[in-house]
């Protein structure tokens, strides 16, 4: 079965410090990977995606993620976080021809001033 594991349910980080949010996925021949962000009481916004090609993917708001096939990981990183990055972050996967997007359980990122 397709699955996505986000190992940390909550991550507190000091402002301007770097952050990494971890995501592991169940392997497949052709897998698409996504990170979405949900700000408090708002909808889901696409941060970045990996469909194919370069394993380092850059997204909005200074975030990036690296597709690692051997470790089946797609960790999200930001070198310096801001208060405005406080949100819930969801990793998700799908496969070619499969309409279903499978989500991880989310990681709540809290920025400490």
């Amino acid at each position: 079965a397709q699955s996505v594991t986000q190992l940390d349910s909550q991550v507190p980080v000091f402002e301007e410090a770097p952050v990494e949010l971890r995501c592991n996925y169940s392997s497949s021949v052709s897998v698409y990977l996504f990170w979405y962000v949900q700000y408090p009481n708002q909808g889901l916004q696409l941060l970045l995606k990996y469909l194919s090609g370069s394993t380092l993917v850059k997204g909005i708001n200074g975030f990036e993620a690296e597709f690692n096939k051997s470790q089946t990981s797609f960790h999200l990183r930001k070198p310096s976080v801001h208060i405005s990055d406080t949100a819930e972050y969801f990793c998700a996967r799908s496969t070619f021809g499969n309409e279903k997007l499978t989500f991880g359980t989310g990681t709540r990122l809290t920025i400490i001033p």
């Binding site: 979405y36 708002q42 909808g43 889901l44 916004q45 995606k49 969801f90 998700a92 499969n98 309409e99």
Partner: protein
């Protein structure tokens, strides 16, 4: 211009009532979805439509009935609402299957 828009954003209703949530996308996408986010923030697909045809129904109770009058609209009707239906319902769309899915702002449903 909102790409995927859904109404209402907030809905409070009593148990046993029937309610609908409407969704429209102006992205020209062929595929639309309904996802449910529970109180623990877990997101799970409910339905998927491609060109007005149902292609995914994830063991959702019969009280939930999606309707797609055209490929730009996917409405969700819920009969006999129960307390457990309280959740955030997200509409979404994609250009074709397996590609990037864009979400609406969500509809916060509270059943009392």
């Amino acid at each position: 211009d909102t790409a995927v828009s859904q109404t209402p954003k907030y809905l409070v209703t009593q148990m046993g009532n029937d309610k609908s949530i409407k969704c429209e996308q102006n992205l020209g996408h062929d595929t639309m979805y309904w996802y449910k986010q529970d109180s623990k923030k877990f997101l799970k697909i409910m339905f998927s439509y491609n060109n007005k045809e149902l292609i995914i129904n994830e063991t959702v109770p019969n009280r939930f009935s999606p309707k797609s009058p055209d490929k730009a609209h996917l409405n969700l009707h819920i009969n006999s609402l129960e307390l457990g239906d309280s959740a955030v319902y997200f509409c979404a769309s994609s250009q074709y299957t397996g590609n990037t899915i864009y979400f609406g702002e969500g509809s916060w449903l509270t059943v009392v």
